[in-house]
C-alpha cells in the first residue's frame, strides 16, 4: 500500500474525509481486500493499545467472517426472520438442542456418499427451530450456501461413527470432517486441523443431488 493510500485511510478512519472523497475511500475499502485488511488491523491494534493492558482481548480473527456468514445466510436464504423466530434461548432450547444433534447427525450423514438423501424439507424442519441456521439454510430449491467453522482436530478410525460429525456448542455451526475420503472403511480418517487454516470459516454448500461440500477441502459428496 502506498503512502497516499495509507494517509487517505487514516484520514477516513478519523472522519476527516468529506463528501466525494469519503465516498471514494469507502468504495475502495469495499473493493480492495488489502485496504480492508489494513482497516481491520489498524482498529485492532488501536483497541489493543488502549485496552490490552487492562485485560480486554480483541475479537477472534474469524469473528467478522462469522458475522458475514450469518448475514449472508439470513439474506440469501430468507431465514431467521423475526416473525418466525422463537426466542434464541430458553428452557426449550436445551431440550431441543439435544434432539437437534441427533436429527442433524442423521440428516447430514444422510447427505454423505452411499447414504441417500433426506428431503430438504425434512432437514429444514428439524427440531432446531429458529436456531437451526445450518439446517434452515436449505431452501426450497435444494441449494444452500453457508459457512462452517471447524471445532477441533479429530481423528477417527471408525468411519461409521457419529464422531464423523461434530457440532459446535451452539448448534449453529457444523463441521463434518473427512468428506473427501468418506466412507472408505479401510482408512483411518484424520480430521480437520483448525490451526492449518487459521480457524477460518469454510465456504460450504449444499446442493440437492450433490450433498454437502466445501469447495476448499472436499470433493462433492458422492465422490470418493
Amino acid at each position: 500500500m502506498n503512502d497516499e493510500s495509507q494517509k487517505a485511510l487514516m484520514a477516513f478512519m478519523a472522519g476527516e474525509l468529506q463528501g466525494l472523497e469519503a465516498e471514494r475511500m469507502a468504495q475502495r475499502l469495499e473493493r480492495e481486500a488489502a485496504l480492508a485488511e489494513a482497516w481491520e488491523r489498524q482498529h485492532r491494534v488501536s483497541f489493543l493499545l488502549q485496552q490490552g493492558r487492562s485485560g480486554q482481548r480483541p475479537a477472534p480473527a474469524d469473528f467478522a467472517a462469522r458475522v458475514r456468514a450469518a448475514i449472508a445466510l439470513e439474506t440469501e436464504e430468507g431465514v431467521l426472520r423475526e416473525s418466525r423466530c422463537r426466542p434464541a434461548n430458553g428452557p426449550w432450547f436445551k431440550a431441543s438442542a439435544v434432539a437437534a444433534v441427533v436429527v442433524l447427525s442423521v440428516s447430514l450423514l444422510s447427505f454423505l456418499p452411499g447414504r441417500g438423501h433426506v428431503p430438504t424439507s425434512q432437514m429444514a424442519s428439524s427440531s432446531l427451530g429458529a436456531n437451526a441456521t445450518q439446517a434452515a439454510a436449505v431452501d426450497n430449491g435444494g441449494r444452500a450456501v453457508f459457512a462452517l467453522r471447524p471445532v477441533r482436530f479429530v481423528t477417527t478410525v471408525e468411519p461409521e461413527s457419529r464422531a464423523d460429525l461434530l457440532i459446535q456448542r451452539d448448534i449453529r455451526r457444523i463441521w463434518v470432517p473427512n468428506g473427501r475420503a468418506f466412507p472408505n472403511p479401510a482408512l483411518s480418517y484424520a480430521g480437520y486441523d483448525p490451526a492449518s487454516f487459521g480457524g477460518r470459516l469454510l465456504p460450504t454448500r449444499y446442493e440437492r443431488g450433490a450433498g454437502i461440500a466445501s469447495p476448499d477441502l472436499w470433493a462433492p459428496a458422492g465422490q470418493p
Binding site: 494517509k7 487514516m10 477516513f12 475511500m25 469507502a26 481491520e40 488491523r41 489493543l48 485485560g55 458475514r68
Partner: protein, 210 residues
C-alpha cells in the same frame, strides 16, 4: 472534530462518526460490504461490551454476533439521530440483557442503562478472563505492546502514543511534532502496522486457545 475523551478515549468512535455515517448510508443503499467494514471496526468494542454482561467468552461471541445481525436487520431504519456506535452499543446491550433473561439468569450489571454502553465498552478489565491463563495472556500482551512500542523509531512511537494514550487529534499531534498532518497519519499507520506484526503470533495463539 472531537476526539479526546480522557483515558480510554474514543479515537475511532467520535472521531470516525462521520465515516461511520458514510458507511451506514452505503449499507442502506445495498452495499453489504460496507457493513462488513463496520463490523471489522467495532467487533472488539462490541465484544468487550457484551462481555460485561455475558461472562463466558464463547457465549459472549455468539451474543455479539447476534447483536451485529440485529443491527444489520435494523439498519434500514437508522436515521442518524445518534452516532452509529451509540446505536450499535444499545443493540448490543439489549441483546446481552435479553440473552441473560431468556436463560433465566440475572442481569449481572443490573443498573446499566444503554446510554452507559460507551463507557462500559471502554471500561477497564474483563473479569471473564481473570483465570490464571487469561491473566498470563494479558500480561504477555502488555509485555508485547511495551516491547513493540520500545522498538519503534522515536517519531513513530511519539505519534502513536499521543494518539492512542493521550487522545490527541492528528492536527494536535502535528503541532506537537512540528510536522505536516499527512506525516502524522503516515507515522501512526506505520506504527500500528509494526505493532500488529509483533502481536500477531500471540493473538493467533490466543484464538486457538479460545
Amino acid at each position: 472534530m472531537t476526539e479526546k475523551t480522557g483515558r480510554g478515549e474514543s479515537v475511532g468512535q467520535d472521531a470516525g462518526a462521520q465515516s461511520d455515517l458514510v458507511l451506514v448510508r452505503r449499507v442502506q443503499k445495498g452495499e453489504k460490504a460496507a457493513f462488513d467494514l463496520l463490523v471489522r471496526k467495532y467487533q472488539h468494542r462490541v465484544l468487550a461490551l457484551v462481555g460485561r454482561f455475558v461472562r463466558n467468552p464463547e457465549e459472549a461471541e455468539d451474543v455479539a454476533q447476534e447483536a451485529f445481525v440485529k443491527a444489520y436487520r435494523a439498519l434500514k431504519n437508522f436515521r442518524g439521530d445518534s452516532a452509529f456506535y451509540t446505536w450499535l452499543y444499545r443493540i448490543a446491550v439489549n441483546t446481552a440483557k435479553n440473552h441473560l433473561v431468556a436463560q433465566g439468569r440475572q442481569v449481572s450489571i443490573a443498573d446499566v442503562e444503554t446510554e452507559d454502553a460507551e463507557q462500559f465498552a471502554s471500561a477497564d478489565g474483563l473479569r471473564e478472563y481473570d483465570t490464571p491463563e487469561g491473566l498470563l495472556l494479558t500480561k504477555e500482551i502488555a509485555q508485547h505492546i511495551d516491547a513493540a512500542l520500545t522498538a519503534l523509531p522515536e517519531d513513530l512511537r511519539i505519534a502513536v502514543t499521543l494518539r492512542e494514550f493521550e487522545g490527541l487529534s492528528y492536527d494536535e499531534i502535528a503541532q506537537v511534532m512540528e510536522c505536516p498532518v499527512g506525516t502524522v497519519r503516515s507515522r501512526i499507520f506505520r506504527a500500528r502496522e509494526a505493532i500488529a506484526k509483533v502481536l500477531a503470533p500471540l493473538l493467533e495463539q490466543s484464538d486457538h486457545e479460545r
